[in-house]
């Protein structure tokens, strides 16, 4: 279902700016917008029992409409952040992005929604209206349900006399401090991935900003009646993005909600343990062969998970550095193999060994497979299809004139293999991967495009006829590959007809 959502949005947005693939970046953007608008709002906030509610009203009733804009932007950006974080969590879960090397990002991300909820709830309390009083009392009751014995917390909100100005200073301190923790937590969350995209593409930034501004002006975020400890309104309009937990606790009991929250949290935190049972031959980490590594560092530069590092040389080689793979971080995507200059099939030795290689699908295996598959083809206008395993189901493409070579990732293929396949007699080559911007290993499509365009080493040589190559991002869309193959065959046929025979 989720891939259908992504596919649907692909029709509307440019593939590189599909919001479904930038949920984390969009959530961070909303968090940042909420922080920035909050800093401005803070300068106009009065941290006193009487002044708290008035501060909200002052902004709300600003005749220039800048106040409602600021309040609305602050509130709706925070709401959007909750929704986007939730979607991000769901998407990462269904894509099994908690396995293997991704455990660190997974675990460090799990605490962030909690911090976000604390930030939002404390922000709503600062307005000190009916909703704030309800929420702060319900939260106090919920905290009292912990087996600590004390039922003192909710007493603070029994009467206005029980409150003093320090309460709002304390809440403001939390409301500023927790988002700072959230920003720090986000930084830790992306520490083990290289070239993390903190922000979505520019078009999405402008689109989101426009949407939030329009929403803030069309439906201003307004305070309810001032908090009154002597009267309890029958109905309250709640901000469900943050306050969903209160009605839930009232319906099920505070203890049940504690059990649910801790149970779900624990279950999510345990998910990376499934790695033990789900590790397959495919997921064996990359191996460095020192004798063939010249320490160029391309593998380290291209690794999407910082699993490859350059260290001081440990052998007698004159090169200064050598690659080192941290098996705990390696996702076995093979992108490093595609980056290695020694991964070329043109080398004359029988069993080629790359400086960095995948144990289950070495460069030598890849070359042998290509040779055998091509030799076994009997049809006209033979085509080689190199395709990412994460993308289309490859078996349906194999026929008497199509050789199918599966890869861990499209970027695992050293560009020289395309040249090699054409030299072996293929009429055309198709390199297919996940949808654009949806690479299972984050950066594969980006590196392939840059390598093919000659912007990144190793480049596809200029002599390779580009009309005999199709680089596609079809995801699971078979039709795209079939059409590209037909197109290649048609042009090969045309070329054959135009070539004079002896």
């Amino acid at each position: 279902m989720f891939s259908q959502v992504a596919d649907f949005l692909d029709n509307i947005f440019p593939p590189h700016a599909n919001p479904w693939r930038h949920l984390g970046g969009l959530a961070f953007l909303c968090l940042l917008l909420s922080c920035l608008s909050g800093i401005i709002a803070y300068t106009m906030y009065d941290t006193s029992v009487q002044g708290a509610y008035e501060s909200g009203l002052r902004l709300q009733n600003d005749p220039m409409r800048l106040g409602p804009l600021l309040r609305g932007l602050h509130r709706y950006a925070a709401d959007a952040a909750v929704l986007l974080v939730l979607l991000h969590l769901i998407r990462e879960t269904v894509q099994f992005h908690f396995l293997g090397a991704r455990w660190f990002s997974w675990l460090t991300g799990l605490g962030l929604p909690g911090l976000l909820l604390i930030s939002g709830l404390t922000g709503l309390w600062l307005l000190w209206d009916e909703r704030a009083l309800y929420s702060v009392t319900a939260t106090a009751q919920w905290l009292q349900a912990l087996p600590l014995g004390s039922e003192l917390l909710a007493r603070n909100f029994l009467s206005t006399q029980a409150l003093n100005d320090r309460f709002f200073s304390l809440i403001m301190f939390i409301h500023i401090g927790v988002p700072l923790l959230l920003l720090g937590g986000t930084w830790v969350h992306v520490q083990r991935i290289s070239m993390a995209r903190f922000y979505p593409p520019r078009s999405l930034i402008w689109g989101s900003l426009g949407m939030l501004v329009a929403l803030a002006l069309a439906f201003p975020a307004e305070s309810l009646n001032p908090a009154d400890t002597s009267f309890n309104a029958a109905q309250l309009s709640l901000d469900w993005f943050f306050m969903f937990i209160h009605p839930l606790a009232q319906a099920l009991s505070d203890q049940t909600v504690w059990l649910m929250v801790s149970g779900v949290g624990l279950a999510l935190a345990m998910l990376p343990l499934l790695t033990k049972f789900m590790r397959t031959a495919v997921s064996q980490p990359a191996q460095v062969h020192l004798a063939h590594c010249n320490g160029c560092g391309r593998c380290a530069a291209d690794c999407p998970f910082t699993a490859v590092m350059m260290t001081q040389r440990s052998d007698a080689s004159p090169h200064k550095f050598q690659a080192w793979v941290n098996p705990n971080l390696c996702t076995a995507c093979g992108i490093c193999v595609g980056a290695c200059p020694s991964s070329t099939p043109f080398r004359r030795i029988e069993d080629i060994v790359s400086g960095i290689d995948m144990p289950d699908l070495t460069v030598a295996m890849l070359r042998n497979q290509l040779k055998h598959e091509l030799a076994a083809l009997t049809g006209l206008h033979q085509i080689v299809l190199f395709s990412c395993r994460q993308a289309a189901n490859l078996s349906c493409f194999a026929d008497h004139s199509t050789a199918v070579i599966p890869l861990h990732c499209a970027a695992m293929l050293p560009p020289s293999f395309i040249d090699y396949a054409l030299r072996l007699g293929a009429a055309g080559v198709i390199l297919a991967g996940c949808k654009e911007g949806a690479c299972e290993f984050r950066l594969g499509d980006q590196w392939v495009r840059q390598r093919m365009a000659g912007l990144r080493e190793p480049q596809l040589r200029a002599r390779v006829p580009r009309e005999r190559l199709r680089v596609l991002w079809p995801g699971r869309d078979h039709l795209v590959i079939q059409k590209a193959a037909a197109d290649l065959r048609r042009s090969a046929n045309l070329t054959a007809l135009q070539t004079p025979h002896d």
Binding site: F13, Y76, L83, G149, R155, T229, N232
Partner: protein, 172 residues
Amino acid sequence: MPKPLPKYLQFVLQTMAYAAFATVLGVFSVWPSYQQRGVNEAILKLSFSHSGQLKFACRQRDAAELAKTAVHMRNKMDCPRERSQVLVELDMDGQALFRISTAPLGLNRDGAATVYRRLAIPAGPHLFSARLADGPDGVIHFSSDHKVDLKPGQVLIIDFLTGSNGFVFTGG
């Protein structure tokens, strides 16, 4: 490859996608309203923080006992810090609403006993009877009756303040 949509159509659909997301944000930031009590209900809050009496009386240590303790700790009187549980009972119109026995806070059980309960009750005239026992014998030492006509939404707070010599009904 599917033919890409015309630019203008993409723009329209993108605007609709943003509008749909904004609608979700706008709607669920205020709707649906939450019914936190019935229309004809008032709210009762029973809450207090009270230190019960000491559980054990002071006693004189005998000479043998004093000899066993360190020189600097030889107090002739032994006064255990532990306090008694506090029992509170609240009736409304002769019907029991709460009967809560609560232990003192602290590792040595020498702190205050705290209670917080919230309950929605029918609005209208009611007679509340509150009783509290805070000694080791469990005997009711404080009791109070209070008549009140509660309006819908009104919050009645029942506190216990030793300084005020017992139960305090606020908001009624």
